[in-house]
């Protein structure tokens, strides 16, 4: 069995013939969702995504697409096969970013205008809790054991650690200016938080009981680029933890960071104002949304090189890829 999987993985890497996945891209200004085939890298569909679609995620089985329709003040749900709108979920006002728990039952939604994190049940379509957080909540992360949800607040400049047991904040960690995104490693022992205006990524060690300790701050430097434009936003970490990818906004680059030494190894040039990132399920490719050039860049993860860009809708914001 193991050999079989290994062989098919190899085959996939070598030619990747079938087993195409779909990437869904939310277009903030165009109010649409673009669907891209991750085999041919061609746009196969573009459909109405509600008003100002930003955060975008999938149910664990890949059948349902959830979209934060920020200006509609709700989460829209679409069928990933037919692209039909199925239902909508209450989200609280101005939902921007969210995370879904591994069971697919709970959505944790940042309400940017209301200083709240809303917890929504995807089955009963009801709000389970509203957690008051700092000013302008944005980044959302969930620990692999689903015991913790982390929210970052852009004007308060904190990462808030919310226990999913009782929806109470247990820890607050001050980070640099305008924290945009939070990401755990797959083993749950580390958390990364990007600070757009501070220009840093805060690194926290996470104890077995979930307690965070700030251990390092990663900063960036690119010759010929003003330091002011190195604005970290989206973060993804490979499943083995060896590489961290950080989107640098108006610097039009994705930083490649060594997961062990936390040193920046390289900067990959992508489209303009790079915002969010998503891996394909095999982590062979990393997709970036480029808000000002209206495209996504495909990065070959092993080679750490950009291989292609695909035109999508107006002002692409978020991206998610269906699981295998």
């Amino acid at each position: 069995m193991k050999t079989l999987i290994a062989t098919s993985l190899l085959a996939l890497l070598a030619a990747s013939p079938s087993l195409a996945n779909k990437a869904f891209v939310s277009n903030e200004r165009g109010n649409t969702i673009t669907v891209v085939d991750t085999d041919t890298w061609e746009v196969i569909q573009e459909f109405d995504g509600g008003n100002r679609p930003r955060g975008i995620t999938l149910s664990p089985d890949g059948r349902k697409l959830y979209v934060c329709a920020s200006d509609d003040n709700l989460v829209r749900v679409f069928d990933t096969e037919t692209y039909r709108e199925l239902e909508s979920l209450p989200s609280g006002p101005d939902p921007e970013l969210f995370v879904i728990d591994p069971t697919g039952r709970h959505l944790y939604i940042a309400n940017e205008d209301d200083n709240l994190v809303t917890v929504t049940d995807t089955e009963t379509r009801t709000v389970l809790a509203e957690v008051p957080v700092g000013v302008e909540p944005e980044g959302m992360a969930i620990s692999p054991d689903a015991k913790w949800v982390v929210n970052t607040s852009e004007t308060t400049n904190m990462a808030h650690f919310i226990s999913t047991e009782d929806y109470k904040i247990r820890h607050n960690v001050l980070v640099d200016q305008r924290p945009r995104y939070a990401q755990y490693t797959d083993d749950g022992t580390r958390l990364f938080v990007s600070a757009e205006i501070g220009g840093t990524v805060s690194v926290m060690d996470i104890a077995p009981d979930g307690t965070p300790t700030l251990v390092d701050k990663i900063s960036f430097e690119v010759p010929g680029v003003l330091p002011e434009w190195l604005q970290p936003v989206g973060i993804k970490v490979t499943s083995d933890g060896s590489r961290i990818f950080v989107a640098l906004g108006p610097a039009n680059r994705v930083a490649v960071i060594d997961g062990e030494t936390l040193e920046v190894l390289d900067y990959i040039i992508v489209g303009q104002r790079v915002w969010q990132l998503a891996f394909t399920p095999d982590q062979a490719y990393l997709l970036t949304t480029n808000g000002n050039s209206n495209d996504i860049t495909i990065i070959d993860v092993a080679a750490e090189k950009a291989i292609k860009s695909v035109q999508v809708g107006q002002q692409p914001w978020g991206v998610v890829v269906t699981p295998n």
Binding site: E154, T155, Q177
Partner: protein
């Protein structure tokens, strides 16, 4: 700028009480302020009530702190502005303070910090007494909205009680140079920063030949000085200068536009060939009339046309939509630059309290001037202070009355410390010695 709110913009429930109180006194339509008659003292104190309930300890920041500040606004006798869009709301600046208290207070709930800001509006002759009262109340963090000479007098008095003053409105260069004070931080950009912002855009456009038209009042001539300096600094050429004397003309009402349409082409005719007209009108009595009425078909920049501003209500980049939404829900109107400046002044205090865990005015000043200080202010990059004269470094928006047309510093204007230091007085140029 459009003053009325879209009908869809309803105040949030939580803010309804404050909204009602603001509505009662919306002075954009209240003539008493414009005439500078005796004004009531407005005091609004908002205490974040949830602080104790929500307070969750943060290692090393566990001490409870109560931050008290004041906004002191002097309401000068003023003529009506040329445009109704420039009418001053009664809660000008104060609405920014309310938002800052909310923002700081929300952060404070996680640290055990509370924020209260008193808001006081007085005519010029009552300013000193108002300051005495603020100091007697034990407040040592004071945001002042006043003209330069009053600001300096108040700052000197406040300094005797070790209070820190933050300048939210006065633009004079001298306050950042020979007249600087160690206990005075400038949130408002200087005339020099504003003029440099326009000059850089002019260079970028290759509009090298300027026709400078200035007013005859002190506020106008000091602005004209800033534009002359900016032209020298960036290699632009002032080919012609004229003064539009303030003879006490009337506001553009009834048939006024007929006279404007006839007089201004005459006033501007025969000027040497120029790319752009630069208007220096710090008093707001003529510049608004210039666009479309010149003898030459040239754009206007400065006090009309494309204006350098610190903030405007249509600005949306860098997450500013969120600021606008919060402000409008709270105040029931659009934000003015003065509101933003007061908000920013109090956010500076909030940031220093959060990071340095202190309410001491001197310690807050020192933290704000230190390398550790940085603040996100919806300008696309962090704002910091010049530690040689207390001026906040910040990008300047170039605004046409509807949208942000551009933002200075312009691309390619480099500086060894920060591109922001290409705007205004740089360290070698200032005559300020109080910060040494």
């Amino acid at each position: 700028m459009v003053q009325s709110l879209p009908s869809s913009l309803q105040p949030d429930k939580r803010y309804r009480l404050q909204f009602a109180s603001v509505l009662l006194g919306l002075t954009a339509r209240n003539p008493t302020i414009q005439n500078g008659r005796r004004e009531v003292i407005v005091r609004q104190i908002i205490a974040p009530l949830l602080a104790v309930l929500l307070y969750v300890g943060l290692a090393g920041h566990a001490s409870a702190l109560d931050v008290k500040a004041a906004v002191l606004r002097i309401d000068y006798p003023r003529l009506l502005p040329i445009s109704r869009y420039d009418l001053r709301p009664e809660d000008l600046g104060f609405a920014g303070a309310m938002l800052a208290d909310e923002d700081n207070g929300t952060t404070g709930t996680f640290l055990g910090h509370t924020y209260e800001t008193e808001q006081i509006a007085v005519p010029p002759e009552e300013a000193d007494a108002a300051l005495e009262q603020i100091l007697a109340d034990g407040i040592r963090l004071i945001v002042v909205m006043a003209e330069g000479r009053d600001l300096l007098r108040l700052t000197d008095r406040a300094a005797q009680d070790d209070a820190l003053v933050l300048n939210a409105t006065a633009p004079e260069a001298s306050l950042r140079s020979e007249e600087c004070r160690a206990s005075l931080l400038h949130i408002a950009p200087s005339n020099l920063m504003l003029a440099d912002a326009i000059a850089q855009f002019s260079v970028w456009k290759k509009w090298d030949e300027w026709f400078l038209v200035s007013g005859s009042n002190y506020a106008d001539t000091s602005l004209a000085d800033a534009y002359r300096r900016a032209a020298r600094k960036f290699g632009l050429n002032i080919v012609e200068e004229r003064v539009f004397a303030d003879t006490g003309g009337s506001r553009r009402t009834d048939s006024g536009h007929v006279l404007v349409q006839r007089q201004l082409p005459t006033f501007t005719q025969g000027a040497k060939r120029h790319d752009v007209l630069i208007a220096a009108d710090g008093t707001d009595y003529f510049a608004r009339y210039l666009p479309y009425h010149l003898s030459s078909p040239r754009p206007v920049m400065g006090s009309a046309g494309l204006r350098p501003v610190t903030f405007h209500a249509a600005h949306e980049a860098w997450g500013t939509t969120q600021y606008q939404t919060r402000f409008e829900a709270l105040s029931g109107r659009y934000a003015h630059a003065e509101d933003y400046n007061v908000w920013l002044a109090l956010r500076v205090i909030g940031e220093a309290v959060t990071r340095a865990s202190t309410v001491d005015a001197q310690a807050i000043r020192d933290y704000a001037l230190s390398d550790a200080f940085e603040l996100a202010a919806f300008k696309g990059q962090k704002v910091t202070f010049r530690d040689w004269n207390g001026q906040m470094r910040q990008p300047i928006l170039l605004y046409d009355g509807m949208i942000t047309v551009s933002v200075s510093p312009q691309e390619g204007f480099l500086h060894q410390v920060s591109p922001l230091d290409t705007l205004g007085l740089d360290r070698p140029e200032t005559e300020c010695t109080s910060f040494n």
